[in-house]
């Protein structure tokens, strides 16, 4: 037996065995690696088989694509089982998009959308230039322009009262205002709650706990019906604006707790490192602490944004008709009363909400990966 050993040559790295790589490796290890894994794979396949074909049949194969009224979507007329009644959606499309926004003025909504998209897309592409300017225009200038475009009563545009607004327009306005309002509010509240000044901390805690303690429905109801009773008549402002403010305060309180979680994840050494360099509180927060804290909470933040987006449907209870509200109003139209109208409408709304939520979720995931500089080990 040798008891000593001296290596003469170093071993060069080799690729891993074939069976653990590529498609074969994927099948073997991820889908059929063990009994339990195999059962799950088979159950998953079964589930797809049960769900996908009927959905495809309803939405596409059996669906009716042309027609002018309910008659075209009835099984008796078509002579076969009927799936989705798409003519209903086509006929009501403008209502779903704009609510009762006057038809001659709807171009203003389209221009707003176009502006928003034109500013948002380069903002979402990391390599696009002029990020700071772009962000300032999108978050600062665009809301003002959108306000004047949509509301009017200035620059020769006729006034369109918000009670005529509806459909996707309202959904997007509330979501957008909620997101760009709640994030800065949440950050300030979180910083306040982590503050060393007792008065500031107390105020923030009370604010956060109050808004988290009441249901959104109550907030909306209060803002719409109760508030005008307390305020002098000259203080009354637009019902949609009241809802927006309520929504921002409500979402801001939730955002504050999300951001606070992120602040707690930043090690104390980061604060000390920044402090030792002479960065004061605000500079330390904006350049060192918040960039890291917000990165840690991207998943939770997007969670809140998606919840906010879907919670917009609650404005129905204060008689503001968002996309879902317009849908329900359209169901009442006797001209389109068929057995499949309800399913068609909800399928349409479901696809709309899903696409936007899914897009937000995927983009957040992409951002998370992009910002990962290996901070957590």
């Amino acid at each position: 037996m040798e008891t000593t050993f001296v290596r003469r040559e170093l071993i060069a790295p080799l690729p891993p065995p074939l069976a653990t790589r590529g498609l074969l490796g994927f099948l073997r290890w991820r889908l059929f690696g063990g009994v339990f894994n195999t059962i799950l794979t088979l159950l998953g396949l079964l589930l797809l088989l049960v769900l996908v074909p009927p959905a495809v049949r309803f939405l596409l194969i059996d669906a009716v694509w042309d027609g002018a009224s309910r008659v075209d979507c009835l099984a008796e007329t078509v002579g076969r089982p009927v799936g989705a009644c798409w003519p209903f959606v086509f006929a009501k499309f403008r209502q779903f998009m704009y609510g009762f926004y006057p038809e001659d003025e709807q171009w203003r909504v389209n221009v707003t959308y176009a502006l928003g998209v034109a500013l948002l897309i380069p903002l979402l592409i990391p390599r696009a230039p002029y990020k700071t300017l772009n962000a300032v225009v999108f978050f600062g200038v665009f809301p003002v322009v959108a306000f004047f475009l949509l509301v009017g009563d200035a620059f020769g545009l006729p006034h369109v009262e918000t009670r005529y607004w509806g459909g996707m327009l309202v959904t997007l306005v509330i979501t957008f205002a909620g997101i760009i309002g709640s994030l800065p509010l949440g950050v300030l509240l979180a910083l306040g709650r982590a503050s060393k000044m007792p008065a500031v901390r107390m105020l923030c805690v009370i604010f956060i706990e109050f808004w988290r303690g009441v249901p959104l429905v109550t907030v909306l109801f209060f803002a719409t019906y109760m508030l005008p009773l307390f305020l002098p008549p000259s203080w009354r402002f637009d019902p949609l604006a009241r809802v927006l403010v309520g929504e921002v305060l409500f979402a801001g309180a939730y955002m504050a707790e999300v951001v606070r979680g992120g602040l707690q994840a930043v090690p104390r050494g980061q604060y000390e490192g920044a402090t030792a360099l002479g960065l004061g509180y605000w500079r330390m927060m904006s350049y060192v602490v918040l960039p890291q804290a917000l990165k840690y909470v991207i998943p939770a933040m997007v969670n809140s944004f998606i919840a906010l987006f879907k919670d917009t449907t609650l404005v129905l209870i204060v008689s503001i008709f968002d996309l879902l509200g317009q849908l329900r109003a359209a169901f009442a139209d006797p001209n389109w009363a068929t057995p499949v109208t309800l399913f068609t409408g909800f399928a349409f709304a479901g696809i709309f909400y899903f696409l936007i939520s899914f897009a937000m979720s995927r983009y957040a995931l992409y951002t998370e990966r992009r910002l990962d500089t290996g901070a957590r080990r």
């Binding site: 090690p267 050494g269 980061q270 000390e272 490192g273 920044a274 402090t275 030792a276 360099l277 002479g278 960065l279 004061g280 500079r283 350049y287 060192v288 960039p291 890291q292 990165k295 910002l371 500089t373 290996g374 901070a375 080990r377």
Partner: protein, 270 residues
């Protein structure tokens, strides 16, 4: 430095770095600590600590863990506050006044045991952040300055990487460069090699020796006795929140005066 990057206009910066050492000052005392007392809750962590550091001196502070040496160091730039006593840095007394504190922090660089680099910024951005945001230096100038100091700590080629892509020793050298970019008059080192793998200790110590050669005023908390022998002007031993002995390195190591110092040295020099 041996590996001076030829692409950089080092000449111009040489003047700047030279100018730093020649800066005329109000007093020859860099740091004065008088009657400093601090409690963590009811625990008396610093007990009537007083001493003076002259300009250009290298003070190495050692002592058992929990003896208050890190806490003392952190009082010099007021990362820790205290209940009694005075700390005067470069002629400015540290008070509650935030403006004064920020002024002092700008002149005092600090290097931590855990590096405390900002993981979301590249090495270069770590170095330029404070010059740009605190000193309001133009970005281009700050970057030239940062590259100069990264060259001095011998990692100019890592400027575009993120801190966590580097080894511990490289990260600590970046931390030193980052502190130097503020062109401080005094540098504090809080156990700069304690979190490093053994193979990386030397590269950091070499950087610190080079800095000492340049005449930087340094306060170092460290147990690297070889380093202490080589560069220290005076040694300080702390135990139970108080200074036990301050002495010249030669006397400190060869003829320690206090019983506690003898015990401490016998424990760490085997």
């Amino acid at each position: 430095m041996a590996m001076a990057d030829r692409a950089e206009p080092v000449v111009d910066l040489g003047k700047r770095a030279g100018g730093l050492a020649m800066r005329t000052t109000k007093s020859e005392i860099a740091v004065e600590i008088a009657g400093l007392n601090k409690w963590f809750g009811s625990f008396h962590v610093l007990r009537d600590v007083s001493f003076k550091v002259m300009r250009g001196e290298r003070i190495v502070i050692c002592g058992p863990s929990g003896s208050g040496k890190s806490t003392l160091l952190r009082c010099v730039n007021r990362i820790e506050d205290w209940q009694q006593g005075r700390v005067i840095v470069d002629g400015t007394e540290l008070t509650e006044d935030l403006k004064t504190i920020d002024e002092v922090r700008r002149e005092v660089g600090m290097v931590f045991q855990q590096f405390n680099l900002f993981p979301h910024l590249t090495v270069l951005e770590n170095c330029t952040l404070a010059p740009i945001r605190v000193r309001h230096m133009p970005r281009r100038e700050a970057e030239t300055l940062a590259r100069h100091y990264l060259t001095r700590v011998r990692i100019p080629e890592q400027a575009e990487k993120y801190p966590l892509q580097l080894s511990g020793g490289q990260q600590q050298r970046v931390a030193i460069a980052r502190a130097l970019c503020m062109q401080p008059k005094i540098m504090l080192f809080d156990e700069p090699t304690s979190a490093l793998d053994p193979e990386m200790v030397k590269e950091v110590l070499d950087t610190m020796v080079a800095l000492a050669m340049d005449g930087m005023t340094m306060l170092v908390v460290s147990h690297e006795m070889g380093f202490a022998r080589q560069v220290a002007s005076r040694m300080v031993l702390m135990d139970a929140g108080q200074i036990v002995e301050i002495n010249e390195p030669k006397t400190f190591f060869e003829h320690p005066q206090h019983e506690r110092t003898r015990l401490f040295l016998s424990q760490i020099l085997h």
